[in-house]
Symmetry: C2
Subunit: 319 residues, 2 copies
């Protein structure tokens, strides 16, 4: 696969990493990045994420055969509208947004050829954002979900699929609505909960708070990392995937209240039964290749677990 | 520091790691481990965590100058009672339990010399448990909290402090009640929430569930790791630190309901304001040395973050 000109609208962690990965494989003729802020354009150029960086979406997409929308969800529609005057008739357009139904709804009306729009979501990222966070191996071994709609051109889907496979990802297809439901539980709800608990700590009196930081290795650290994710993007995700997030949040809250009650009434059996069940889920995630088991685990990945005479076999068998 | 005979009551992740660390430094004459289950004793001997392994607590502590209680919280009292017949008059006793007030309450009545009991909690661990999970560097750079009570002998505190410093930890002192309040938010509540969300997934229909595992890298993975922790220990932690956990859980639930409302009513400002605040908390945790910032972050530590034209500076300045 060898592409001519590619336009990256937004050049942060995901688009920047895609740009680096494509250039490393010499798979692209020219990359034109578009970013509103001058500093972003300067950093993208300095890090070699693109050949040119411009502020105007229409200018960025001129003569591009592939356009990758990589702005926060709520900006997708406006950016699509702004790029339209420059778009060539046969350009394939894709995006990397974390929600899909709302983005399809917002972007399609602005495209001259909706059939050439292939909505996508690389399930990969870090808590860092912006062009300085980009790295070329971000997608290796990760999943990318494409959500073509009824009218989408199969050749356009093939082109975008090959793009992601080229940079090391595995591609799956599903409907936008199904994507939003699955990601609500695997990604959106975990982020919401992490944001909440870190916020709860932020409201504690200053004295307790500084102690929380000192003893964060007991489990809190992982939450702070997730809750350090890009605030603009995540605001948009929750607003754009409202229904699925609220539904999953409802299930979670019911389950939490049940545990709260078990704690209050000293019901150890309910707690033990659940805690044993969740341990098995970890093994299923490891088997699905989405986590790695290491034994022993280095200290900087550790959560407080105490010890004891375990009633479960050790998890060495997982590795 | 050179100890004579040390008794480890329970020889799982924490006591096993302490044993390895002490032996590596040639800081101990003999380690006698006590475990109820034969398989645990065999694994402890096979991995070189101890010189002898016995089933009877009283036999284990005979002529030991230091006894480390490393069983689940609810087993601390019964094990202390069982070891009493073998305990020498001047033996220092400590523990590694994740709650402190309840353990002090349960253990002290069984000790001939309560002044020689130094309650402790190494804030270190992994999601693995049992003797096979032990590794000698578990405590390096970590915190250990000691919670002596009014009558505790200062020399006994000094001895236990030096023990932990020897294996690389930094030691802090506080009251048992204060410990339980701080750990309720840094460790117990994060575990409760992780257990809950992983349980919520376990209740989804099978089809959705298998997809959850495939796309777990979007944030869910971190929760499954925490929720794989030892079920017996964590059941005991929640039952033993009930009041502090319920109080922190109440705060968390209020905050979560506020976010739920913001999502339902499309209140983006409330979401953005909180998400920006939590990003700053991450920096504070990194400054406190309890997390490490890496840029770029390798894919296997990544959470889904998407990208976008960030409105915050990139976090390179944290590194």
């Amino acid at each position: 696969m060898r592409l001519g000109r590619v336009a990256m609208l937004g050049i942060g962690l995901v688009n920047g990493s895609l740009a680096l990965a494509l250039r490393e494989r010499d798979a692209v003729g020219e990359i034109v990045a578009c970013a509103r802020r001058q500093r972003t354009r300067e950093r993208a150029l300095a890090r070699g994420l693109c050949d040119r960086a411009v502020a105007d979406p229409a200018e960025a997409v001129r003569e591009a055969e592939l356009v990758v929308l990589g702005v926060p969800p709520a900006a997708m529609g406006p950016v699509a509208a702004a790029m339209r005057p420059g778009l060539t008739a046969d350009a394939v357009v894709t995006d990397v947004g974390s929600v899909k139904a709302q983005i399809v709804h917002d972007v399609v009306p602005h495209l001259p050829q909706p059939a050439l729009f292939v909505p996508g979501h690389p399930v990969a990222g870090t808590e860092h954002s912006g062009p300085d966070a980009a790295f070329s191996t971000l997608f290796e071994g990760r999943r990318v979900i494409l959500t073509p709609i009824e009218d989408t051109d199969p050749d356009a889907v093939r082109k975008v699929r090959r793009l992601w496979e080229l940079v090391g990802a595995q591609v799956d297809l599903m409907t936008p609505e199904h994507h939003d439901r699955v990601l609500a539980i695997t990604s959106h709800l975990p982020h919401l909960i992490a944001y909440t608990i870190v916020g709860t700590v932020a409201d504690l009196e200053r004295q307790t708070q500084s102690e929380v930081f000192k003893y964060a290795a007991g489990g809190f650290t992982d939450f702070t990392r997730i809750a350090a994710s890009d605030p603009v993007m995540w605001r948009d995700v929750f607003l754009s995937n409202r229904e699925a997030v609220l539904e999953m949040l409802g299930r979670f809250t019911e389950d939490l209240v049940r545990l709260q009650r078990a704690i209050r009434w000293g019901d150890g059996d309910t707690l033990f039964e659940l805690f044993s069940r969740t341990r098995r889920i970890r093994r299923a995630v490891i088997r699905a290749g989405q986590a790695y088991d290491r034994l022993p685990v280095p200290p900087d990945r550790a959560a407080d677990n105490g010890n004891g005479e375990e009633d479960e076999p050790t998890t060495r068998a997982d590795g």
